[in-house]
């Protein structure tokens, strides 16, 4: 695989199921067994009902742009060639929110409320990153 120059997220124990699913090109989030709330990223207990019981469930992978910003500053050399680039907050149909990238859309063409669907980018042999594209 070609050299990947951007930060690669560490696969922490609590996020292992997320990365395992992403490698299969499937999007999963935690669902609380106590109250059914979907949440992301992983947490030890539910902030709604305090239940410690949660399961990782596949979600639709569809949602909408909740908000976005356009980064102009280079904080990491891996992004130097891309500035200005957008970072989006996606609200999944199931309710959980994710930070992500929107592929195939120029930063200034992004609109809040745009329907999006998940796509996957294989970064390394271990890590695949979910991103989003217009639905």
């Amino acid at each position: 695989m070609a050299e990947y120059g951007k930060p690669v997220p560490a696969i922490t124990p609590e996020m292992r199921p997320f990365f395992a699913a992403a490698k299969r090109h499937q999007l999963v989030v935690q669902r609380c067994c106590g109250c059914g709330t979907h949440r992301f990223p992983a947490r030890e207990l539910c902030s709604n009902c305090w239940s410690r019981e949660a399961e990782w469930v596949a979600v639709s992978g569809t949602g909408e742009i909740f908000s976005f910003n356009v980064m102009h500053q280079v904080y990491h050399p891996g992004f130097a060639a891309e500035v200005p680039y957008a970072v989006v907050a996606v609200k999944l149909k199931e309710g959980a929110k994710m930070t992500s990238s929107l592929v195939g859309v120029k930063p200034h063409d992004i609109r809040i409320g745009m329907p999006v669907r998940v796509v996957f980018e294989d970064l390394t042999d271990e890590v695949t990153l979910p991103k989003f594209a217009p639905a």
């Binding site: 951007k6 996020m15 910003n69 356009v70 102009h72 929110k97």
Partner: protein, 390 residues
């Protein structure tokens, strides 16, 4: 027990601010306390309480107040603690001091903030080495970094973008706040932008940091220290400077997801503080709001009720918060144009205004000041009502 005006701020100490390298973070804190004690006409032996809000330079600062106490050679303190509620810490710290004094726990508390994230300009060799201070606030974790999202600017930008989408807020609205505060700073000799005017054109031309934020939407990074001395109102009346009474105080921490509400904790904090102070919004003469961004000023004007939710943009557009306007806001230039000492910047400006020490920027007849602190991503909030009379 109503704590209204039972305690007062008796001393104010502001070190040199900005690109100054006289001390590290501990040294700036000690210097700020020294100045505050001298201002009050007190000696170090008079202190029996020490509260520290540690800036980023303190690291984890688990024992920061102990470290500061050692550095100052203070003995026999009856109160010593680190306070951290993000940008809400300063007003919360002063509330904590006031409560401890009113409860008889101690008599005289120094409340301190300091930070020294800026390094002296890099030498040529260091520049080659990638030295310098860029990225002092460029932290990120895990997935955010993978998507290229770094630092607090980016997180506030998401909230601001949504406010713009829902309410039609524009960059020129935010720019009106930046320009108004620069005009105040132009009248403040202690401000980093004392003699640097700025127009709305300058604002529009300033580089983007993270859209929708231009450079001039973001607060300054500053080295420095700031301290106040809190004591019983009765005692403060016998000291060197006129007391600044702590008439009301409150906190409101919404936590949660700021993008959903686009609101700060001001509504809750204000209710507590205004009830204690026995005042209404119309009694406020000067407004000193926590301004990590122009956007937080706009949101807080809405949440305190100066205008309706979503109407902050048009509210500030006519210049009413600038010098000569009907609602003086951040009269020292704030953290955007003066110096960034977290919540202590608005506290210090309120003290200066209520003492009548504002010089060219003095608001005539300033008797009651509203002071706010805001931290996290609109997830913590604190309010003080300070006044020149009890």
């Amino acid at each position: 027990m109503n704590l209204r005006s039972q305690t007062a701020i008796a001393g104010l100490g502001i070190t040199k601010q900005g690109k100054v390298y006289d001390y590290n973070h501990v040294g700036f804190a000690v210097e700020a306390v020294r100045l505050a004690l001298a201002d009050a006409g007190l000696r170090r032996e008079d202190l029996d309480g020490l509260l520290l809000n540690p800036g980023l330079s303190w690291g984890e600062a688990a024992m920061g107040s102990f470290q500061l106490q050692q550095a100052m050679g203070l003995r026999d303190l009856r109160l010593s603690s680190v306070m951290n509620a993000g940008g809400a810490s300063a007003a919360a710290m002063i509330q904590h001091a006031a409560q401890a004094i009113a409860a008889g726990v101690c008599t005289t508390v120094a409340c301190v903030f300091s930070d020294a994230p800026l390094k002296p300009p890099a030498t040529k060799a260091e520049k080659k080495d990638g030295g310098g201070s860029a990225g002092a606030y460029g932290f990120a974790r895990g997935l955010d970094a993978a998507y290229g999202q770094f630092g607090v600017n980016a997180l506030y930008a998401l909230v601001a973008q949504r406010h713009m989408h829902l309410y039609g807020t524009t960059n020129d609205h935010l720019g009106a706040i930046a320009v108004a505060q620069r005009q105040w700073a132009n009248k403040n000799p202690q401000a980093q932008f004392y003699d640097t005017p700025m127009t709305i054109e300058d604002y529009r031309r300033s580089r983007w940091v993270v859209e929708p934020f231009h450079l001039f939407d973001c607060c300054l990074v500053s080295n420095g220290g700031l301290a106040v001395i809190v004591t019983a109102a009765e005692r403060a009346r016998d000291l060197k400077k006129p007391p600044v009474y702590i008439r009301g105080m409150g906190q409101g921490h919404p936590g949660g997801d700021p993008g959903e509400t686009l609101a700060s904790g001001a509504v809750l904090a204000k209710a507590t503080a205004f009830t204690m102070a026995g005042i209404a919004l119309s009694d406020i003469d000067v407004v000193e709001l926590y301004d990590c961004y122009t956007f937080t000023v706009l949101v807080c004007l809405e949440d305190y009720g100066f205008c309706k939710k979503g109407e902050g943009g048009p509210f500030v557009a006519d210049g009413k918060i600038a010098p000569g306007g009907s609602l003086p806001v951040n009269t020292g230039g704030g953290q955007l144009s003066s110096f960034y000492m977290w919540g202590m910047t608005p506290v210090s400006e309120a003290v200066i205004q209520l003492r009548g020490d504002g010089g060219a920027r003095q608001v005539p007849g300033a008797g009651v000041a509203l002071v706010s602190g805001n931290g996290g991503i609109l997830s913590t909030h604190s309010t003080l009502v300070l006044a020149g009379a009890p």
